[in-house]
């Protein structure tokens, strides 16, 4: 019993597919096919996470999210076919915690559910073990004294070079580093055209920390300038 997830979508096949995927991972799944039904299910069952579609009959997803947010603080992931940035911003501002565009990658969706649930259920643990030397950034946390990176409270196994890169980026959240600077500070020597070397390492780190390494959320390329660790809440 890892947790109870409510899946809401007017497309029954999608609800079914997601349910199967999540049940395989050991979650209990409640199903709803419109916004109103979703509200009922939340009242009836101890739902810990909601996956909800935007365009639905009776009560649309965003309105449902607003209603849920009035009472519950559980993680909500919005599913939508709209992929524009403005749609994402709207969804997040309505109170959603995450926004996944259709057609989603099933593995990535499951990873996100897992990540959100873990953070939600172990929220108390985080606060209990707060260390002054810990840097939090969304799913990630980095303990500077131990030089260990945690993703969803799980320690991430990094090589020495990768740890150096993570150390640099986590200590300077949001700051853009040109490849030359990263190279100089990590390898401690000047380099000619270090892009390839840096990129290889960054790709490896991404595979360890990102939910979908092809669409990274944390270590991002600022094209034409450099690399940065994106700041999250």
């Amino acid at each position: 019993m890892n947790g109870c997830v409510l899946v809401v979508d007017d497309d029954k096949e999608i609800v079914k597919a997601i349910s199967i995927l999540l049940e395989k991972e050991g979650y209990t799944v409640q199903k709803a096919y419109d916004g109103l039904e979703a509200l009922q299910k939340i009242a009836e069952y101890p739902v810990q996470l909601i996956l909800i579609d935007v365009m639905m009959p009776k009560l649309d997803g965003l309105s449902a999210v607003m209603k849920i947010r009035e009472k519950k603080n559980l993680p909500i992931i919005v599913l939508s076919a709209k992929s524009e940035n403005t749609d994402k911003v709207l969804g997040l501002s309505m109170g959603a915690d995450d926004y996944v565009t259709k057609p989603y990658d099933p593995q990535e969706l499951v990873a996100r559910v897992r990540s959100h649930l873990r953070r939600y259920t172990s929220l108390g643990d985080i606060h209990a073990s707060v260390v002054s030397s810990e840097i939090f950034n969304g799913r990630l946390s980095y303990r500077t004294d131990e030089r260990v990176l945690y993703a969803d409270q799980e320690p991430v196994k990094l090589t020495a070079t990768e740890t150096k890169i993570v150390d640099l980026l986590m200590r300077n959240l949001g700051r853009v580093f040109p490849a030359e600077e990263i190279y100089r500070r990590v390898w401690e020597e000047e380099a000619f055209a270090p892009e390839n070397t840096v990129m290889v390492h960054i790709r490896r780190i991404r595979e360890k920390i990102e939910l979908n390494p092809k669409e990274p959320e944390y270590i991002k390329v600022v094209w034409g300038i450099g690399y940065k660790m994106e700041k999250h809440h």
């Binding site: 497309d11 096949e13 999608i14 597919a17 997601i18 199967i20 995927l21 395989k24 076919a81 709209k82 992929s83 940035n85 259709k102 057609p103 989603y104 990658d105 099933p106 593995q107 040109p178 490849a179 000619f192 055209a193 892009e195 390839n196 840096v198 990129m199 290889v200 790709r203 390329v221 600022v222 094209w223 034409g224 300038i225 450099g226």
Partner: protein, 778 residues
């Protein structure tokens, strides 16, 4: 209906009121501007007793003079004598009463100036024969060959005069000389001068005792001499003043005259010689004229009062009168302007020249150098003598002004206007180039006529040697008029050409503006301009372009909407496909061939997912709706990052990538994320279609102002000619079996342009070259 009647009433009140007021004012001015002061005129007209008027006093003085002449055997002058002295001041208007008497056909005017009426009187007073000619004046004319010192002749005249007036019993007289009665018509009456008694009904008595005159009216003596000196304003022109004495012979005479209280008309049937005749009746006519004068003044006052009342009515309804004005103007507007002008001018001429006398006099005086400003006052008076004429003129002017006020461009509704309009219309039908040339034909014609006229005048001058003055003069005047016309026409052409040039300038500017893309601006010139047609055409072209562009924008937007909707509709079932493929993939114990099938489903559904996203983005970019975040970035670094990002794929392929990217920064303004997609697509393209074992060259160059990045590769297959590779869904291989979406280059191009750059594709044999250019910033 009510407003219609209001209009009619208002206008009628206006018309009658103005007519009455105007004629009243004109009559008053005319009446009161005569010899005596207007106050005295009114006072005398309203005098109850005719004996209190100046006319009566003058007449009595005349009688006295004539009677003294008769007593002493001197010549008789009478009224005529004094009229003579009045000649130059105001001969025409000297006797207002007389004028009306003449009009009524019974007055004494004719006594003064006509030979047909009491002739005997005229003859008696000195054989004077007046010549009342057609010019309204009379000449101091043909006196008979008479000797005024001859006592015999004078006695005959006195006899005749006595016979002419003695039966007019409105006056009784007794003339004595040396204490013997000479003439009297008062036999058997109690007329006694010395005793100052007169018969009943004769309330006025005048007695000359040889030195002074005594007068008694209604039993009361009249103070004749006041302070004893005669002045211009003295009532009585009779001897006896300290400065008006008589000679010794006259001192021997006495004259007694009594005037009737109410004069009557005396007629005598002299049937033995002639028909019945009215007698002199001077006093009767004085009273008659005074009474009729009073009537005139009363009528005048009444008409003025009525006029004022009517004007007040009009003022109350003046708004309704404006409607009537407009209605009248609608009618007058239909009349040709020339007709109106001729009507106005002839009315004006008729009023000014209606008697003609003044003009003759005017020119005569100018001829004799006898010119003075007062002559215009006389013209004024003469004009005012014809009330009907002046009022009529006023109304004609009113109609004319009303026409001008209510109708626009009244002169267009005229013969000349219609002819000019017809010419202009015919002119506009001609093509522009001929129209401009045609315009000069009248100028040439006028010039030709002018030359002919000048030649003719020269010929006449040479042949006639200066004797044929009149035709030469006429020709010269025509030449001068022609020259003036020529100058006027030239100025007109100048103005027209100036406007043509101005319009041409406007047109040229507009052509340039439209070419520069400002297809919303429109120009206007006057509709009668030579270039109006061209301007209209240009405006139509511009409108057509505007419509086309708007249509295009609209259709682009609809296309994007369609693509957006379709891609959204595809995404939902695609989500299911991908989800269930994933479930299939996780299924254990599937046979290997099924696992292969699932593998194919997986890759194709992933491909479909990418394509849906690509189609959506490229349609947005093509319609200019792609959001971009422009910032300064290093193009070289971006290329290196892209190559690093794709290093795995490059390493996996059998194709080498050769780069030539300068180390130093090459900064441009662009959206990094979009530009990464551009080069990613270009490199993917190159990797996919390059010949195995060949090389891809990635170069970046700059000339300081433009950064040029290029990707060159050798195509594996033959590149077809005449293919626009940046067109959507275009591929080198038309069989569409290579797995590409055909959107790669299209996305690259539209993203480049959305960032403000330029992308070109070039093929040289099998060499495929894509160039991306951005303006460099420093």
């Amino acid at each position: 209906m009510a407003t219609k009647w209001k209009s009619i009433i208002s206008f009628t009140a206006f018309f009658l009121g103005i007519t009455l007021l105007l004629s009243g004012v004109i009559d008053s001015v005319y009446l009161l501007s005569s010899r005596t002061s207007w106050k005295a005129q009114i006072r005398e007209a309203f005098e109850e007793d005719y004996q209190n008027t100046g006319e009566f006093r003058r007449q009595m003085a005349d009688y006295l003079e004539n009677f003294l002449g008769m007593a002493t055997g001197g010549p008789l002058w009478g009224n005529v004598y004094r009229e003579y002295y009045g000649y130059y001041d105001d001969y025409t208007y000297n006797n207002m009463e007389g004028v009306y008497a003449v009009e009524s056909g019974t007055g004494d005017w004719s006594w003064n100036f006509s030979e047909e009426y009491p002739n005997e009187v005229a003859e008696a007073i000195g054989g004077y024969s007046s010549d009342y000619d057609e010019y309204g004046g009379y000449e101091y004319g043909d006196l008979e060959d008479s000797d005024y010192s001859s006592k015999e002749e004078n006695k005959k005249r006195a006899e005749r005069y006595h016979n002419a007036i003695k039966d007019d019993k409105n006056i009784l007289y007794k003339i004595t000389y040396n204490d013997g009665t000479v003439y009297t018509n008062a036999e058997g009456t109690e007329l006694d001068g010395a005793g100052m008694t007169a018969p009943k009904d004769y309330n006025f008595l005048m007695y000359f005792d040889g030195n002074t005159v005594k007068m008694r009216k209604d039993g009361k003596d009249i103070d004749v001499y006041k302070d004893g000196y005669y002045r211009d304003d003295s009532d009585w022109y009779v001897p006896g003043y300290k400065n008006f004495t008589v000679d010794e012979e006259t001192q021997k005479a006495t004259v007694t005259i009594a005037a009737a209280k109410s004069p009557k008309l005396y007629i005598k049937g002299d049937y033995a010689k002639d028909s019945s005749k009215q007698l002199y009746n001077r006093l009767y006519w004085i009273e008659y004229n005074q009474r009729s004068q009073k009537g005139r003044f009363l009528a005048l006052a009444a008409s003025l009062a009525l006029g004022i009342v009517l004007i007040a009515v009009y003022l109350i309804l003046r708004k309704d009168k404006k409607r009537a004005d407009r209605w009248i103007a609608r009618i007058t507007g239909k009349i040709w302007y020339e007709v109106k002008l001729i009507l106005l001018l002839s009315a004006l001429g008729l009023v000014l020249f209606h008697s003609g006398y003044w003009w003759d006099d005017f020119f005569m005086r100018i001829q004799f150098g006898e010119f003075y400003p007062g002559i215009f006052q006389e013209l004024f008076r003469e004009m005012f003598a014809w009330t009907g004429g002046v009022v009529g003129l006023f109304w004609i002017i009113y109609l004319f002004v009303n026409d001008h006020r209510c109708n626009q461009k009244v002169w267009k509704q005229s013969i000349c206007g219609h002819i000019a309009e017809a010419f202009r219309a015919a002119d506009l039908k001609l093509p522009f180039q001929r129209r401009v040339v045609h315009r000069y034909i009248p100028l040439i014609a006028v010039t030709g006529v002018l030359i002919l006229l000048s030649g003719a005048s020269l010929l006449i001058f040479c042949l006639a040697g200066g004797y044929e003055i009149v035709p030469l003069l006429v020709l010269m005047i025509l030449v001068v008029l022609g020259a003036v016309l020529l100058v006027y026409m030239q100025m007109n052409y100048m103005k027209k050409n100036e406007r043509l040039m101005l319009d041409t300038g406007i047109l040229i500017d507009q052509i340039k503006t439209v070419r520069d893309g400002a297809i919303t601006s429109e120009i206007q010139v006057q509709p009668d301009s030579d270039l109006a047609g061209a301007v209209q055409d240009l405006n139509d072209i511009r409108k057509g372009m505007d419509t086309a562009v708007k249509e295009q924008i609209k259709s682009e937007r609809m296309k994007v909407e369609l693509v957006s909707n379709v891609s959204h509709d595809i995404k939902t079932p695609l989500t299911s496909i991908i989800s269930y493929v994933e479930l299939l993939k996780q299924e254990d114990g599937l046979p290997d061939y099924i696992r292969d099938y699932v593998q194919i489903l997986d890759s194709k559904s992933q491909k479909l997912k990418e394509m849906v996203q690509d189609v959506f983005e490229v349609s947005k970019a093509a319609s200019g709706q792609l959001p971009v975040e422009i910032e300064a970035l290093d193009l070289g670094k971006l290329l290196r990052q892209t190559l690093a990002d794709m290093s795995e794929r490059i390493a996996d392929s059998r194709i080498q990538v050769k780069t030539d990217i300068p180390e130093e920064e090459i900064m441009i303004m662009a959206d990094g994320q979009r530009l990464y997609r551009v080069f990613q697509n270009l490199l993917q393209n190159a990797l996919q279609y390059s010949l195995d074992g060949s090389r891809i060259y990635v170069n970046l160059k700059t000339d300081g102002s433009v950064a040029v990045a290029s990707v060159k590769n050798t195509s594996a297959s033959e590149i077809p000619a005449d293919v626009n590779f940046t067109e959507r869904f275009t591929r080198g291989d038309s069989s569409r079996t290579d797995g590409g979406s055909g959107l790669g280059l299209s996305i690259a191009k539209s993203f480049t342009e959305a960032c403000g750059g330029r992308m070109t594709v070039e093929t040289i044999a099998d060499l495929f070259v894509v160039t991306v250019e951005f303006p460099q910033i420093h």
